[in-house]
Symmetry: D2
Subunit: 330 residues, 4 copies
């Protein structure tokens, strides 16, 4: 069956994307998925897309748990411009607040997933190191100031290979000890298209599923396991190499179907420049001399850690403004 | 009262040492402390000193909880010689094993205290990153190999100022979740004399008391709080500046008492060289151009993290030899 | 012309390999290249291949300057085993010595190309930081010891984007000032196949050509520009993403030519597993969950920096043995 | 001779300060030094002091070459407030411009002295990594934009122990190659008083003398050696431990002279609190739990690197404003 064959090139397992937006795009040509609602909002600096998955069928087709997924895309983030970073941080803060419980006193526990020592996976720990941490000061603070500063604590527990302990176990132990109202997990993600790397922030209210993220967690960090709301914040920092090759084949086939010609002829007739163009279509727009992670990944990770932490500082603490939110960044 | 006055210059609060050995030295001139036993063993590369505190009086005078304190001193460790480092690691492994429960199956949880981002306090996290971690592999390993590889897991939770959570709370939560048989806490220490910096390893079976270590923990990590045995491993990486000044005054007074002269006269008559010699007596033997932490602290921290982690790998896993123990180091 | 069409898929510009061995492989199906000689030596731990390019035609076809290229391949290097690393370092040292002038007194200047802050490009600086540096001590050393320790100095000047100065200009200025006998430039390389990443060391006596290496130098660092012999040592740390896609297409075409069928039929008939196998053929053997650079690139860079620096310490200083050579590593 | 004896306590060699301001303070009680002029300007956020040494006698007494020394002191810099940092950077930029040649086209070469891997000595390299580098882009830039962006290049060559080459030799070689109009050398300094650590920036038009700075350069980097103007920018990051002890003794003696009593009596009568106060007088105001370098040195180094680099970006490029100057910081 053609439909069936076609799915081979678009299956979620090939795609290896952690973005609900991309998972949805892969099915968008088929007239929409039942129980999946999507809306887009264009702003001067960024595009915000909201994907809501509300049916088991949508959950299965997109390979993502039911819930809300907000994606903020801003190509400009690659330009390393601090003013723009602050504007995007403010947009991110607003979207994050939408998914947070609407209450003044909220004890927030941020978990920075990933590995300090593997650059593409270091986003979570770097965000944690840039947060304004207040839980330990909270009892000393006058009540009127407490209104402006919520109780925030955070940890970057490290990855299974380095600790020998599932991150889920560590978080569960600490949550039972300190009893926060909400967990916000930050992680590096894998995207399907290179133009999503270091341009995109995803927020969801589904927590972290086992096996997602760059570091492949095996135990979920979500409301089922922790019994409190869990938000997940992620930034695509890599495309899997297998996705690149998969995209290449897929594009060839699309081209072929359109042309209805024997492939060999097409390839044979294509000049070097045509092929280069074809491949470039797969890989463009790329970040510099793209290596699936950009070579300059270290500075991009640092930039995004600041945008995410700056936005969190704004969203968490009603009493501090955007300028102050960035004053705490390392 | 002279005795009383004298105590001013020797009080434990001035001294700010985390080493039981140094705390004992401060009282050694007074004919020993009741309930404190000390023995020394000289080896070619190192001197091992064992201090046992077994009375409340000893506890109070030395300012250290009752228990065993083993100190390994090796000046050669500053020379950055790998062979010597491996020999010291083997001695450390042997002493560590003395204080560990003598049982084959022992699930070990190592806690690296301190702060990745403050070099003098980064020892604990760096040790953790050099350990051979096995807990997550353990179920997959054949039983006969399991005999040679104990279950080891580890975490470097970060410091209160960065997490907002007392390290004791974090460890308690994780211990209740994963139920290890023993906790081994690794920390950077403050010494009283500069010649102990980066030459010394202390092991104790008392755990970590509140307020000790370079990072000043406020909650204890010990058998009382965790209900399992807790060993503490520490390496002096700093002398507090106040200790330097205190030592200076103390030495002047000693000098004075000996000479029985008016101080001004002495000072006035002392030439520049004499004064320099006096000050050098306080500060020598120094590490390079000493700045209380040596300028080269970054490399010393790295070296000691390898010695401690290498020794732990030997002590934890009966099935691997010294050569292998160092193969896992970063 | 078929020959011409075929070249499209095999052109040096597509391949983007810095390895002469790979450049040669791309032409090996065509019955050899005139003026290019290749020989292979299999050892228990490694395979050493020697490529000699001695004709302008070979130079043009392989896209590499005339000279000698020695490649040491050792898959085991990914296993992070220190003993194996030391054995490979000894092999590397021997091959490096073959290309060095055979004279006792040799003042060596090592240049670590690349960028501290971009992990895939950090090999050169990390090698420099692990070398045994002697030039500044040399005048103080007795003559008989000088025989065992050659004069070695080194610099990691940083990349054009960070300094604003061509690396070639910096090196030229320093060479004219300190007048060494030989320059050895160390750099991270791009390979064509993923199985060459972090398994391979290349040594050549051609120096560094403009545009080669991960960081794309624009000015050559070679005998023409510096008037002294220049060796280049390189380790592939990345495959360009464009190469991955290019390899994918190429493999499809090869498959097609063999089968002599219409491509669409093949693709249409291929099940998902067949396609996956095809793509895996492009990408396997991969390092972990391959992202063109492995996620664990930080630790591999560190490992290789030690192998290369350890081997250089052996090759440079006849008076120190293998064990000592590694004692100086950070 | 009393005068002579007194000098013992105030000799430049004891003081080990790289700040002309402190060197001057040590002589200020003596009614001024001939040929040394000093003026102070108090601002809301900072105090700017200008010391001019114009006589050989002043040069000898202060232990600093003849020339201008501008010191910007701002206690607030320890509070890690970004807005304040930007205001201080603007003040620094203005003072730096005073000492720079007043010409539009000025090709500037910045040298970051010190050692990436020794935190107290890492200021210079970190400043370099935060500069807006333009030299390599300059030929591509339209002439009208060139007016706003001067040609800036930079290097952090590393220290003698790591390179085997005197920093002076490296700089000389590069200067002869690229022929800049001015060299600006940035270095970490040693102060005499702990309250100058991480509160102070010194600018001078004398370049770097042999033996100054935390890393003890042996060859000067100044107009005599390079034949072009050389400015030096320094930030005190340490007090030598010997200075701490020296200060302690000095203070005791001062106390003694005032009281005109026998020292032993004073000491004997002093309670513990009095002594503590005395010592605290030596060490206060201290940064946190002072260890001569503050434990949090890593973050302070990062902050100051940004202040210095941000100020340089403003001073170097007339076409960019303060906000933009900080956009380029890592």
């Amino acid at each position: 069956m053609v439909m069936n064959r076609k799915r081979h090139f678009f299956s979620a397992s090939d795609a290896r994307t952690d973005l609900a937006l991309e998972a949805h795009e892969m099915h968008s040509g088929q007239g929409g998925v039942p129980g999946v609602h999507i809306s887009e909002q264009k702003m001067p600096d960024a595009t915000v897309t909201r994907v809501n998955i509300s049916s088991p069928q949508g959950e299965e087709m997109l390979g993502k748990p039911q819930g809300n997924y907000i994606t903020i895309e801003a190509r400009g983030l690659r330009e390393r411009n601090r003013q723009l970073q602050e504007r995007i941080a403010a947009i991110f803060a607003e979207e994050l607040q939408r998914l947070m419980p609407q209450q003044d006193r909220l004890r927030i526990f941020v978990v920075g997933l990933g590995n300090w020592n593997a650059t593409p996976d270091a986003l979570g720990p770097q965000v944690v190191s840039n947060l304004l941490i207040t839980r330990h000061l909270h009892d000393d603070v006058p009540t009127d100031v407490q209104g402006g500063l919520r109780s925030v604590c955070a940890i970057a527990p490290g990855v299974l290979g380095l600790t020998g302990i599932e991150t889920g176990e560590i978080i569960m132990g600490i949550v039972q000890q300190i009893k926060p109202d909400i967990v916000i997990a930050v992680d590096a993600l894998a995207a399907r298209h290179v133009d999503r790397i270091f341009t995109t922030i995803q927020i969801s209210d589904t927590g972290i599923s086992p096996g997602s993220g760059v570091g492949h967690k095996r135990v979920g960090i979500n409301q089922q396991t922790l019994s409190i709301p869990v938000l997940a914040v992620g930034v695509p920092t890599v495309v899997h190499a297998v996705t690149i090759a998969s995209n290449t084949v897929e594009l060839l086939v699309k081209q072929l179907r359109r042309e209805e010609q024997a492939f060999y002829e097409i390839i044979a007739e294509m000049g070097e420049q045509d092929q280069q163009r074809l491949i470039n279509e797969v890989l463009t727009p790329a970040v510099g001399s793209l290596m699936v992670t950009p070579k300059e990944i270290d500075v991009y990770i640092e930039d995004f850690a600041k945008v995410v932490a700056g936005g969190m500082n704004i969203a968490f603490h009603p009493g501090i403004d955007s300028e102050q939110a960035f004053s705490y960044l390392n």
